[in-house]
Amino acid sequence: MNRPIRVLVAKPGLDGHDRGAKVIARALRDAGMEVIYTGLRQTPEQIVAAAVQEDVDVVAMSLLSGAHNHLFPKVVNLLKGEGVDDVLVLGGGVIPDDDIPFLLESGVEAIFTPGTPTKDVIDFINTNIKRK
C-alpha cells in the first residue's frame, strides 16, 4: 500500500469510557497510521458514514457498557449494506469471553479485552489489513 493505513476509532452507543479508545488512537498514530477519532455517542449509522467518508481501512470500536452484542454486528451489517467488504472491523472493551464467538461470527475480525498491549493491536492490523 502506498499510503498510511487509515483507522477510524469509534465509540458506539452511550458509553462514556474513552480512555482505552484514546490510548489506542494515539498508539496507532505513533505506529504511523492515520487515525480519526469519532468522539462519544456515535450511532452505528454515524460510524459507517464516517468510515465511508474518510475511506478508512480499519474501524476500531470500543465499548464498555455491555451493548456490544447489539452494536458491533450492526456496524458490520451496515458496512456490508454500503457495499464495503474490505474494511477490517475490530472491537475492544469489557467483553465477556462468552460473547466473543458470537461477535467473531457476526463479522468482527478480532476482539481485544482489558490488558491487551497496544502492540498486539498494531500487529494484528498490519498482518490482517485487507486492502493491500
Binding site: 490510548v23 468522539g39 447489539h70 452494536l71
Partner: protein
C-alpha cells in the same frame, strides 16, 4: 517543628550515611532499578527524614481532627465514633431486580444505598428511544418514570437509609422522583438523607454522560443547591468527583487539582446566583478514587482536605467550619482491576480499602473482583463488602485517627501533592476557570498524556501489573459472570407503553409546558420538575423539554 541544632545534626549524619555507607553498599548490592517512583510516577527518594519536612508546622499544617485545616480528618473522633458508611454501588436490569439487590445488601450489613442507573437514564433518554437500543438495564437500573422509582425503593423506608444516586445531567429529575416517592411513603423531604452526584464538569472531562451546555447545566446545579438548602436540608447536593478523572488516567495530583478546580467553579456559580457561601458549602461533598499506591493515596486525601479548607477560607471567605471541610466518598479503582486472574483483584481492593480508610474517607464502595469482565455477581459483591468489614473490625487501623501522620514520607508526599495541585489550579485560573479549561480541552489533554504515559510504562515493563505483564498463566477455567437478560429492554418498553396509556396525558402535557415556559426564565426549575414527575411525565419527556430550551453540549474532541 524541629529544633534547628538537632536538624543540623540530622543533616550531617544523613550525609555521612549516604556517602560512606550507602554508596559503598551500592557497589556490591545495586538497587533494583535506577529510578523509584509512586504509582503516579513521582520520583521517590531512598529514605525520608526530618530534612524532607523541616518546614512543617504542626499546628498550621496538620492541626487536630475536626479542626482547620482538617488535614487529619473532618470529625473529632473519626472511626472511633463510627465507621465510614459502607456503600456498594449497585443497580441493573429492572427496578424490581435492583430492589432485590438493595434489600440483600442491607441484610448483609451495608449501611447506605448507592444507585447505579443505566446509560439511557443517565443521558435523559427513555427506554424506548432509538439511542437506548442495546443499553437498557446494562450498567445500571432503567428508570423511565416515577413508577419505576416507586418499585426501586419499595419496602425501603427512606427516612431510615441514606441513598447516593450516581446521576448528573438529569440529577434534578431523579432527585424530584426520590422526593415524590418519599412523599408517598409519608416521609417529608427534610428527613431525606443522601447524595446526588450532580457534577457535570467531570462529565465533560472524563465520564461522558452530559446533556446540556455548561451554562445551562450550571443553572440546574445552582437551582438544586438553592432548593435543597430550604426543602431538603440534609441532602448532599453534589459529589464533586475526581474518581472518573483518575479512571481516565490522571495522576493523583491531577485528580486533586481538577476536582478542586471543578469545586471552585461550582462555588463561584452559586455565589454568582446570589447564594451565601455558608448556606450551600456545608452540603458539598467529594468523591475520590483509591489506587494501589497506598501511601501516595493516603497523602492525596490529606492534601485534598488541607487545600480545600484553604480555598474555602482564603478565596471564598467561608466562616463556618463545615463549609471548609472536605467530606468524601471513595471508590476503589476500577481501572486497576485485571481481567486476568481476577481473584487477584480481591487483594488490590484490600490495599485500596486500606488507603481510603487511612486517608479518612466518609464512605466507601469496594469493587468486585470480576468487574473487568462484567457486572459483579452476588458472591463477588459479598466478598467486596466483607473486605471493608475485615479492615474495619480486624485490621486495627481504625483504632486511632490518621495513624500515618508524622511519617516523614507521607507528610512530604502530602506537601508535594498539594503544591502540584495548587500549581494546576493557578494555571486553570489563568485559563479562565475550569469550564474554559474544559472547553478548550486543556484538562482532557493533561489526563490523556498521563494515561498514555502509563500505558507505555506497562508495555515496557517499567510498571508491573501482576498477572498481566508478569506472572502470567494460561487461564482456561470458566468464570461465572452476571448476565443482564436482553429481554429486560423489551419488558421495560412494555412497562413504559402501559404508563403512557394509563396516565392522565393532559396533566402531563400541562406540567411539561409550564416547565418549558419556566426554563426560558431565570426561575428555579426544581418545583416545576417535581410537578412534572408527579404527573408521571417520563425522564425523557422532562429532559426533552429542557433539551429544546437549552440545546445540547458538543464535545471537544482532542487526541
Amino acid at each position: 517543628m524541629y529544633d534547628k541544632k538537632k536538624l543540623e545534626d540530622v543533616k550531617a549524619a544523613f550525609k555521612n550515611w549516604e556517602e560512606n555507607k550507602v554508596n559503598k553498599s551500592l557497589g556490591k548490592f545495586p538497587e533494583r532499578k535506577e529510578r523509584f517512583s509512586t504509582g503516579s510516577d513521582t520520583e521517590v527518594d531512598r529514605l525520608y527524614t526530618p530534612i524532607n519536612v523541616e518546614d512543617l508546622d504542626y499546628e498550621r499544617d496538620l492541626g487536630y481532627p475536626g479542626e482547620y485545616p482538617f488535614t487529619r480528618g473532618v470529625q473529632q473522633t473519626m472511626y472511633r465514633g463510627r465507621f465510614w458508611t459502607m456503600r456498594q454501588y449497585a443497580g441493573f436490569a429492572t427496578a424490581e431486580e435492583s430492589n432485590n439487590r438493595y434489600k440483600y445488601l442491607l441484610d448483609q450489613g451495608q449501611t447506605g444505598l448507592s444507585v447505579a442507573f443505566d446509560l439511557p437514564t443517565q443521558i435523559g433518554y427513555d427506554s424506548d428511544h432509538a439511542l437506548s437500543e442495546g443499553e437498557v438495564g446494562k450498567v445500571g437500573v432503567a428508570i423511565d418514570s416515577l413508577k419505576d422509582m416507586e418499585v426501586l425503593f419499595d419496602g425501603i423506608p427512606l427516612d431510615k437509609v441514606s441513598t447516593s444516586m450516581t446521576i448528573n445531567a438529569p440529577a434534578s429529575v431523579l432527585l424530584a422522583m426520590y422526593i415524590a416517592v418519599a412523599e408517598k411513603q409519608g416521609v417529608s423531604s427534610d428527613k431525606l438523607r443522601g447524595t446526588i452526584q450532580n457534577d457535570i464538569l467531570k462529565e465533560y472531562i472524563a465520564r461522558g454522560t452530559y446533556i446540556f451546555p455548561p451554562e445551562q447545566s450550571m443553572r440546574l446545579i445552582t437551582n438544586i443547591f438553592e432548593y435543597c438548602s430550604k426543602e431538603v436540608p440534609q441532602w448532599n447536593t453534589i459529589s464533586i468527583s475526581g474518581y472518573h478523572i483518575r479512571e481516565a488516567g490522571s495522576t493523583a495530583a491531577q485528580e486533586v487539582a481538577f476536582t478542586l478546580a471543578d469545586g471552585i467553579a461550582y462555588v463561584e456559580a452559586a455565589i454568582k446566583a446570589g447564594l451565601d457561601v455558608d448556606e450551600f458549602a456545608p452540603r458539598l461533598s467529594f468523591f475520590f478514587n483509591a489506587h494501589n499506591d497506598l501511601l501516595e493515596e493516603v497523602a492525596k486525601y490529606r492534601a485534598a482536605r488541607r487545600l480545600w479548607a484553604k480555598i474555602m477560607k482564603e478565596r471564598f471567605h467561608a466562616k463556618k467550619d463545615k463549609s471548609m471541610q472536605l467530606k468524601f466518598h471513595t471508590q476503589t479503582a476500577g481501572s486497576t482491576l485485571t481481567a486476568q486472574q481476577p481473584d487477584n483483584n480481591i487483594i488490590r481492593v484490600t490495599v485500596q480499602t486500606l488507603a481510603a480508610v487511612l486517608g479518612g474517607t466518609q464512605s466507601l464502595h469496594t469493587n468486585s473482583r470480576d468487574e473487568a469482565l462484567a457486572l459483579p455477581t452476588e458472591d463477588s459483591v459479598r466478598i467486596a463488602l466483607r473486605t471493608q468489614q475485615v479492615v474495619a473490625y480486624e485490621s486495627g487501623v481504625t483504632e486511632t485517627i490518621d495513624p500515618l501522620a508524622g511519617s516523614y514520607y507521607v507528610e512530604s508526599l502530602t506537601n508535594s501533592i498539594e503544591e502540584e495541585a495548587m500549581a494546576y489550579i493557578e494555571k486553570i485560573d489563568n485559563l479562565g476557570g475550569a469550564t474554559k479549561a474544559i472547553e478548550n480541552g486543556y484538562i482532557q489533554k493533561e489526563i490523556q498524556n498521563s494515561a498514555y504515559k502509563y500505558q507505555m510504562q506497562v508495555e515496557s515493563l517499567d510498571s508491573i501489573v501482576v498477572g498481566v505483564n508478569k506472572f502470567k498463566i494460561e487461564e482456561t477455567e470458566k468464570k461465572e459472570l452476571l448476565k443482564v437478560d436482553p429481554h429486560v429492554e423489551i419488558l421495560q418498553r412494555k412497562k413504559l407503553q402501559k404508563l403512557r396509556d394509563d396516565r392522565d396525558n393532559d396533566k402531563v402535557n400541562e406540567t411539561l409546558s409550564v416547565l418549558k415556559e419556566k426554563a426560558e426564565t431565570e426561575e428555579n426549575l426544581m418545583p416545576y420538575i417535581l410537578d412534572a414527575v408527579k404527573s408521571y411525565a417520563t425522564l425523557g419527556e422532562v429532559c426533552g423539554v429542557l433539551r429544546e430550551v437549552f440545546g445540547e453540549y458538543e464535545q471537544t474532541v482532542i487526541l
